[in-house]
Amino acid sequence: MHDKTLSELADGLAFGEFSSRELTQHLLGRIDRLDGALNSFITVTFDQALAAADAADAARAAGQAGPLTGLPLALKDIFCTRGVKTSAGSKMLDTFVSPYDATVVEKLAAAGTVSLGKTNMDEFAMGSSNENSHYGAVKNPWDLAAVPGGSSGGSAAAVAAGLVPAAMGTDTGGSIRQPAAFCGITGLKPTYGRVSRYGIIAYASSLDQAGPMARTAEDCALLLNAIAGHDLRDSTSVARGVPDYTAELDAPLTGLKIGLPREYFGEGLDPAVAATVHEAIKVYESLGATVREVSLPHTHYAIPAYYVIAPAEASSNLSRYDGVRFGHRCDNPRDLIDLYQRSRAEGFGEEVKRRILIGTHTLSEGFFDAYYKKAQQVRRLIRQDFLDAFEQVDVLMGPASPTPAFDLGANKDPVSMYLQDIYTIAVNLAGIPGISVPAGLANGRPVGLQVLGTHFAEERLLNVAHRFQQTTDWHLRRPAFAEENA
């Protein structure tokens, strides 16, 4: 059962091959046996999961099953979940039990899905390797010496290892697409505003976006159907109709115009990754697509602009963790300043502190214009680059990451870690959607093909990814870890 895709499992449930309880128990058993080696979950909600599975089976028996009823999944531990610890991977929130559900959580529950628990992540979603978690690093099921990527590393690893058929992630600067690529699964970052941010612990508000991570584009489409849409509780969510994202999956790609951004194939790109991506492009040509080179001239400004804007917003978003109302509080504070200083010094990890410091600095009087304002101007140029490109082509393609998954502990220097996100970060600055699709292996580690579209082009991206998966089987490959432990 754990090898099946979400849509296959949906069929299995519909045809009565197994119940949601059986499926849930099977996966909970795998988590119990295997996750010790991976560390992909922070919290496993055994009791709630079985109760939800029973409710789903009852709904099905009553003839009230929807397309997702009874399907198990996991939630990145950044989604506030009522009655469940929601830590954001931080010691600061180790004791925080959310009194409310995020909109995404509410919608998935309403659709009848069964959450098995909360997955590990880089602290407050800050990281590209999942090594910045208070709960320890997550291992890549393809190679336990490798990182799963980040920040949604727990979600990616859990899906890749067959602990759960799908998981929710968030993507602020590549945090869905890069771990999806590193773990050989499919991950979609929707357009900014497509999915409500209400109840998602904020990292950088103008960039954060939730999305599905699963084996196939089809599964991502099923999940996006459930979570997309306007939310009155999130002013930045967009009031725009939600199509059936599965409707156009099979549309032919004849005449599809693919752009290859010159800047995404330059220095720093692992030749094996480049070769894999070019092979994938050939598959598309065989499906009737045409390919041309395009330019996104401001690409090299994306990382600097991101590392001004995201930390600036983060420094403010994380001010609420002050030890006063919830979260970590230091022992025996002498006075108010001591309470603030020690609670935050003890509660936050190193990378989070680094970004708070960067953000605090760039917003300071005298630096605001040089950093924050300038970065916002750059952001507009980057967005314009994409809009110009989409005048010429339907989608852009390139690598999701310059290398396959690197080894745990390999990127000690923060800046070299930041450079991992060179192909993903501009997408968040522009607010456009992107999907990472398994496209091959390099030295036994997965390589992700990234497909980008203009704002609200999710339907197109899923179609383009799905057709690739109808033609190739990279998305069906399983890491040895999952096979051995079948």
Binding site: F79, C80, T86, A88, L93, F96, S98, P99, Y100, A102, R197, Y198, G199, I200, I201, A202, A204, S205, S206, L232, R233, D234, S235, T236, A312, E313, S315, S316, L318, S319, R320, D322, V324, R325, F326, L336, Y340, T360, L363, S364, E365, F368, Y372
Partner: protein
């Protein structure tokens, strides 16, 4: 040296919305601590603000009332600082693009003149919670502080004036004008005791004739009209003394202590926070279309200035009466209701400012809480005007109504038998009796020169009125007495 005072005010007005500016929690005052704070007000992880449309409408109404520019786009910014009663570690405010642009407010001064005070801008922001130090003291010297977040997220309109005021009196007049505008608009209850209107005062002095401003001090937490005057008077004296002694005023924030009527240093410029303002990424810019603004303009109520002008031109009131009666919306509405009930603006004005205001002042009541309704008072005045009762009896009726002895003037008049006697026969009988009882006075009257008799008749009038217990019509009594006495002499 002669010194000139320069004052600018930042007035925080709590808007009378039903729910908070960014959440659905209630804004009612006085609830148990932390019972009116939802997940959003508490700043829980993951929550997001949603702007209250009512707060926007109220801010725009204020802008229109002070003839301000209303920019098409305004933006919320975050003001970042740590404080225990500031749940998110930032206050959502408007730093760079406020909702109300430059405008002006006309103030009335004691000498009857008026002056225009420019408003730099007004912006929307959320209030913080309250830190409760007193309740948590344990009596051993190290008290605990409690946090009440009921107030957190209450919408505030901060109205920032230009430094246009030149005396404590002008500052108080400006504050009163703002109070009157917001209460007329119904966008705030203006209750200063409950903190619905709070004021920061910027004060500096400079040698008369000097163009450059002196260094200013900002006085925080000045929460009544009276305190504004006292705080400024103290601060001006302090600064002048300092300068005359060769010292320097330093830019700082000071706190007004109403118990000791003095200001004390809170923090200097060097200790000031860097608030790291930046646009709030959780809120979209507020875009106001012209139709929306026009609609609000059309539905604005009559404002104090307009009302005052109309009271003079249409109702023929004096400038003073018009100004007093239009000072607050409650006062104006009461007066207009009295006027409608009795049909005479001048009589209504006299009664509202005389008998009624006197009684209210004695009991320390606001006009909205008057035991005598405008309708009751209007009917009472009507009974004087149609000669049903005398003016003197009317005061008795007013007192009776004030103390709840009867639901209408007519009922009281009836019950107390205060109806004027206009029956000539009855009055003549009383006069005959008085004349019969006062032979000495009649003799004196007859002995007097005819031109002095006018004054002497007062004695007889008084006796007759007394005999009638005030119900005889004085004009009739006067005329009949004169006739009868003159016939006797």
């Amino acid at each position: 040296m002669q010194w000139e005072t320069v004052i600018g005010l930042e007035v925080h007005v709590q808007l009378a919305t039903r729910s908070k500016i960014f959440s659905g929690a209630s804004t009612a005052f006085g609830a148990e601590p932390n019972t009116q704070a939802c997940a959003i007000d508490l700043g829980l992880p993951g929550v997001l603000p949603v702007l209250n449309e009512q707060a926007v409408a109220m801010a725009v109404q204020f802008g229109l009332a002070i003839h301000a520019e209303i920019p098409e786009v305004s933006v919320f910014d975050r003001k970042n600082y740590f404080y225990p009663d500031l749940p998110k570690g930032y206050q959502t405010s408007q730093m760079y693009q406020p909702i109300v642009g430059p405008g002006e407010v006309e103030i009335s001064l004691d000498d009857g003149s008026t002056k225009r005070v420019r408003v730099h801008h007004a912006h929307l922001e959320e209030d913080a919670g309250k830190s409760l130090h007193e309740l948590f003291s344990n009596g051993r010297g190290h008290g605990m502080t409690g946090i009440d977040l009921n107030r957190a997220g209450t919408p505030l309109l901060e109205i920032v004036s230009e430094p246009d005021m030149r005396s404590a009196k002008e500052a108080a007049a400006y504050l009163r004008a703002i109070h009157s505008i917001v209460t007329y608009l119904g966008i705030s209850d203006g209750n200063m005791a409950e903190g619905s209107m709070r004021c920061d005062v910027n004060v500096s002095v400079r040698p008369t004739g000097q163009a450059a401003f002196g260094t200013r001090a900002e006085i925080k937490n000045v929460n009544s009209f009276r305190f504004v005057e006292r705080a400024i008077e103290f601060e001006v004296e302090r600064q002048v003394e300092l300068l005359e002694d060769g010292g320097e005023v330093i830019q700082e924030t000071r706190l007004f202590d109403p118990e000791r009527s003095e200001t004390r240093s809170m923090r200097t410029k060097e200790q000031a926070n860097d608030y790291r303002y930046f646009p709030c990424p959780d809120l979209l810019p507020v875009v106001l279309d012209q139709a929306y603004v026009d609609h609000l303009r059309e539905t604005l109520p009559e404002l104090p200035d307009e009302k005052r002008a109309r009271f003079q031109s249409e109702l023929g009131l004096s400038a003073y009466d018009a100004s007093v009666l239009s000072a607050s919306r409650d006062m104006a509405e009461y007066f207009e209701a009295v006027k409608a009930a009795c049909g005479d603006a001048k009589q209504a004005a006299n009664w509202v400012q005389g008998e009624l205001s006197g009684a209210l002042n004695r009991e320390g009541l606001a006009i909205a809480d008057s035991p005598v309704s405008a309708r009751q008072l209007g009917e009472l005045i009507g009974r004087v005007m149609d000669d049903t009762i005398s003016g003197k009896a009317a005061k008795q009726v007013f007192q009776a109504l004030w103390h709840g002895e009867g639901v209408s003037a007519d009922e009281v008049i009836e019950a107390k038998g205060l109806k004027q006697v206009t029956d000539t026969g009855a009055i003549e009988a009383m006069i005959d009796q008085v004349i019969a009882d006062s032979p000495a006075q009649v003799a004196q009257y007859c002995d007097a020169e005819p031109e002095k008799r006018g004054k002497m008749i007062g004695y007889f009038v008084g006796q007759v009125m007394k005999a009638s217990r005030g119900t005889a019509n004085p004009q009739q009594v006067n005329a009949l007495l004169k006739e009868k006495l003159d016939a006797l002499c």
